[in-house]
C-alpha cells in the first residue's frame, strides 16, 4: 500500500488569510471578522482532506479562498505547480478547470430551466471541449458514472428530480472536465441518510476510479471520518488540529476536538437517556474580537493563564498529527 505522503501534492495552501469588514447595525459593534487566519495544508493525489468545525468557523470562506472566489487577503494557493493567488486571469481560468466545487443546496446550484444533459454539458461548452457529438457522448458517460440513466434523466429538469438525483447531476457537472480536486462544501448535508449514503459511496467510487482528490467540508464529524484520509479541525478561523483520520478520532489531541466528539449523539442502545456531562459550556466567542492567546480558551476545560497570553502554534506531535494547544490531551504517543 502506498501511503498518502508518497503521492504527489495536488494542492498546497500556505498561510491563507481572509477577513471581512462589517459595519455595525442595531447596536452591534462593527469591525473586522477574522474568518480565516493563517491556514496552511496540502492535499495529495487521490487523497481526501476533511475539514470540520462549528458554524462560522470559516470553512466556507476557506473553500472560497482556495477557489480564488474571492482571492484571499494574503497567503497562496498552488495547484499542480501553478500559483493561483498570483497568476494572470487567463491562467486562473485555465487552472480553475482542475478544481471544481459541489455545494450544499442541490436545487439552488442547478439552473431550473435547463435540462439535465445541458447542465452537465455546460462546462464542456464553456471550455470549448470536443465537438457537439463528442460532448453528447461525454454527457452520457458522465450520467452513467454518477448512476443516472441518460435516457431517463437526460431530458428532465431539476424540479423533476429528487434531492439526491440533483446532487448527482451537480457532481456529474463537476467532474465533466476531469478535475484534479473537488471541493465539497456541505455537499451531502441536506440529503436524507439513505440518499446521503448513495452519494457518499459515489464520491468514494470516483476517488478510486479517477484518482480524484477532495477537500471535504462538513460540520458532521462522523460524516467527515467516513470519507477522509486526513482531517483538519477548524475553530474560529484557525486549524487547531490536523491528523490522519484514524488517529485524530481515536486519540484526539486538542480539547476542542475532544468536545466535538463527546457531543455527538450516537444511535446505540447503551446511550439511551444517558445524561452526559456537557463537553462544552458557554457561547462561542465573537469572530470580530476573538480571545487573546488561544481562541478556544473561554470554553476550554484545560485552559491556564498561559493560554490567554500566548497564541498556540500548530506543532507536530506524531507523524502527520499536529495540534495548536499548550496543553494537549496527550503527547502524541497513544
Amino acid at each position: 500500500m502506498t501511503t498518502v505522503e508518497e503521492r504527489p501534492t495536488v494542492l498546497s495552501a500556505r498561510n491563507l488569510v481572509q477577513e471581512f469588514t462589517v459595519r455595525g447595525r442595531g447596536g452591534i459593534k462593527g469591525g473586522v471578522v477574522h474568518a480565516v487566519s493563517d491556514v496552511s495544508f496540502d492535499i495529495a493525489e487521490g487523497e481526501t482532506l476533511g475539514v470540520v468545525g462549528e458554524t462560522g468557523s470559516g470553512k466556507s470562506t476557506l473553500a472560497r479562498s482556495v477557489m480564488q472566489a474571492p482571492r484571499p487577503k494574503s497567503g497562496e494557493v498552488v495547484l499542480r505547480g501553478v500559483n493561483l493567488t498570483t497568476c494572470k486571469r487567463a491562467q486562473l481560468t485555465e487552472a480553475r478547470r482542475h478544481v471544481q466545487m459541489v455545494f450544499q443546496d442541490p436545487f439552488g446550484s442547478l439552473n431550473p430551466r435547463w435540462r439535465v444533459s445541458d447542465i452537465v454539458a455546460e462546462p464542456l461548452v464553456g471550455y470549448g471541449v470536443g465537438s457537439g457529438a463528442e460532448r453528447e457522448r461525454r454527457v452520457r458517460e458522465l450520467l452513467d458514472l454518477v448512476g443516472l440513466n441518460p435516457d431517463t434523466f437526460g431530458r428532465r429538469r431539476p424540479h423533476e428530480l429528487s434531492g439526491g438525483q440533483c446532487q448527482r447531476v451537480a457532481i456529474a457537472r463537476a467532474i465533466a472536465l476531469d478535475p484534479a480536486l473537488i471541493v465539497c462544501d456541505e455537499a451531502v448535508s441536506s440529503l436524507d441518510v439513505l440518499i446521503q449514503a448513495q452519494v457518499l459511496n459515489l464520491f468514494e467510487q470516483l476517488r478510486t476510479e479517477l484518482g480524484l482528490s477532495y477537500l471535504f467540508i462538513s460540520h458532521d464529524l462522523a460524516l467527515v471520518k467516513q470519507v477522509s484520509d486526513r482531517v483538519a479541525v477548524m475553530h474560529l478561523g484557525q486549524l487547531c488540529e490536523v491528523g490522519p483520520a484514524e488517529a485524530l478520532y481515536r486519540a484526539p489531541l486538542h480539547p476542542y476536538t475532544v468536545a466535538l466528539l463527546a457531543s455527538i449523539p450516537e444511535p446505540d442502545p447503551e446511550s439511551a437517556r444517558r445524561r452526559r456531562p456537557l463537553a462544552i459550556r458557554g457561547e462561542p466567542p465573537s469572530p470580530i474580537s476573538p480571545p487573546s492567546g488561544c481562541r478556544f480558551r473561554t470554553r476550554c476545560p484545560r485552559a491556564e493563564t498561559r493560554c490567554a497570553e500566548e497564541v498556540p502554534v500548530l506543532r507536530e506531535l506524531a507523524p502527520g498529527h499536529s495540534v495548536a494547544c499548550h496543553f494537549p490531551e496527550h503527547d502524541g504517543t497513544p
Binding site: 462549528e54 441518510v193 457518499l200 462522523a222 484520509d229 457531543s263 455527538i264 449523539p265
Partner: protein
C-alpha cells in the same frame, strides 16, 4: 390489537401509568388542491404520558411535521384531517378556532428549526417574551417583566438582563433557540413539541439545548415530542421512538428496546446508512436504492417494498398492519429482521 389494548401495554412500558396526556388514534391528513391529493399522514396512532419524551423520526416528507401541526390547528385550509387526537381526554381535531387558540400555547407549545425566522427581527427579545406572557394571562406590565426574566433564567440565557434589550440578530443561534423555548414555555404548556429544534445548531450547541430540554422536563414535568431525522438524537435522549415512513408509523418502541433489536427493515436501513464514528474511513456504506413513494399514489402493499431487501410476494398485495409483536415493541412488517443489534 385495539387502541385500548395498545394503551394498556404502552402504559406498562411507559411506566407512567394513569391517563395518557395525549392519545392519537388513526390520524390521517390529506392535502387537496387542483385535483392533486397528497396523502401526508396515513393512520398514525400513539400515546404519550406525562413527563415522557417521544421521538418521531423519519426522512424528509414522511409526515412528521404535518402530524404534529394537526394537533395545533396549524395546517392550511387545503388539509383534510380525520381520526382522533385527545389531549387529557379532550378532542383536539375540529376544535373551533377560538378554543384552538386557547389550547395552543397553554396545553401544547411548539419550537421550530429556524429561530431566526420565528422571532421578529425588529422587536427586542424582552418585548417578544413579555408579549407571549401577556397573551396567555391577564398580568400587569411589572408581573409580565418579572415572568419574562424568570423564563430567560429558566432557559439559562447568559446575561438575561442585557439580552432582554437586544435584538434577535445580536444573539447566537443557540441563544435564539433558548429564547424560542422561553416563549414556548410562557403559558406553562404540558407538552412541548420540538420540530427539528436543534437541527440547525452545532453539535456542541445541540448538546446544550438537549440538556436544557431534559432539565426542563424534569423540573416542570412536561412531556416532549422530539421531531427529528436524526436517529442518534432519538437514541440518546428519548424514552420512546416512533419511526415514520410515507405517513405511517412503521416501528414504535422504547428507545432501549428499539436500538437493541431493530425489527423493521426500514429502520435497519436508516441505522446502517448513518456514518458512525466506529466505522473506519472509506468503508462502503450499505445502499438502499430508490426513493420514498409518491404520496399522491401510494402502493397497495407495503410502501417500503420497492426498496426493501427482505421483500417477498405477499408484501405487494396488502400493507402490513402496525401491530405490537413483542411487549411494547410495534412494527409493520411481514418479514421482520432477526432483531439483533445492527
Amino acid at each position: 390489537m385495539s387502541i385500548e389494548e395498545m394503551a394498556e401495554r404502552t402504559a406498562i412500558v411507559a411506566d407512567g401509568g394513569g391517563q395518557p396526556l395525549l392519545e392519537v388514534e388513526d390520524l390521517r391528513v390529506r392535502f387537496e388542491s387542483r385535483g392533486r391529493r397528497v396523502n401526508a399522514v396515513n393512520g398514525l396512532s400513539y400515546r404519550l404520558y406525562e413527563g415522557r419524551m417521544l421521538a418521531i423520526i423519519g426522512e424528509s416528507g414522511s409526515g412528521k411535521s404535518v402530524s404534529s401541526r394537526a394537533l395545533m390547528g396549524l395546517l392550511p385550509g387545503s388539509a383534510r384531517i380525520s381520526g382522533s387526537a385527545r389531549f387529557q381526554g379532550r378532542q383536539l381535531l375540529g376544535l373551533p378556532d377560538r378554543e384552538m387558540r386557547r389550547h395552543r400555547g397553554a396545553d401544547i407549545a411548539m419550537v421550530f428549526q429556524d429561530p431566526a425566522r420565528s422571532l421578529n427581527p425588529t422587536m427586542r427579545i424582552g418585548a417578544q417574551i413579555t408579549e407571549a406572557v401577556r397573551a396567555h394571562g391577564d398580568v400587569d406590565k411589572r408581573a409580565a417583566y418579572e415572568r419574562a426574566m424568570e423564563l430567560l433564567q429558566l432557559v439559562r440565557l447568559p446575561a438575561p438582563e442585557r439580552r432582554f434589550h437586544e435584538y434577535p440578530h445580536q444573539l447566537s443561534g443557540g441563544m435564539r433557540q433558548r429564547v424560542m423555548i422561553a416563549i414556548a414555555l410562557a403559558a406553562d404548556p404540558k407538552l412541548l413539541i420540538a420540530d427539528e429544534a436543534t437541527t440547525a445548531l452545532d453539535v456542541t450547541t445541540q448538546a446544550q439545548i438537549m440538556e436544557l430540554l431534559l432539565e426542563l422536563q424534569e423540573r416542570l414535568g412536561m412531556a416532549i415530542i422530539l421531531i427529528s431525522h436524526d436517529l442518534g438524537l432519538a437514541a440518546t435522549y428519548a424514552h420512546d421512538v416512533i419511526v415514520m415512513y410515507a405517513g405511517r408509523a412503521v416501528e414504535y418502541a422504547p428507545a432501549s428496546t428499539l436500538f437493541a433489536a431493530v425489527r423493521m427493515p426500514y429502520t435497519e436501513a436508516l441505522l446502517g446508512a448513518i456514518p458512525r464514528l466506529e466505522r473506519p474511513p472509506h468503508s462502503p456504506l450499505p445502499v438502499t436504492p430508490g426513493q420514498p413513494p409518491d404520496l399522491t399514489a401510494l402502493p397497495a402493499g407495503c410502501p417500503f417494498e420497492p426498496r426493501c431487501p427482505r421483500a417477498q410476494d405477499d408484501c405487494r398485495t396488502e400493507a402490513p398492519p402496525f401491530t405490537e409483536h413483542e411487549p411494547g415493541h410495534w412494527w409493520a412488517c411481514y418479514h421482520p429482521c432477526e432483531g439483533s443489534s445492527s
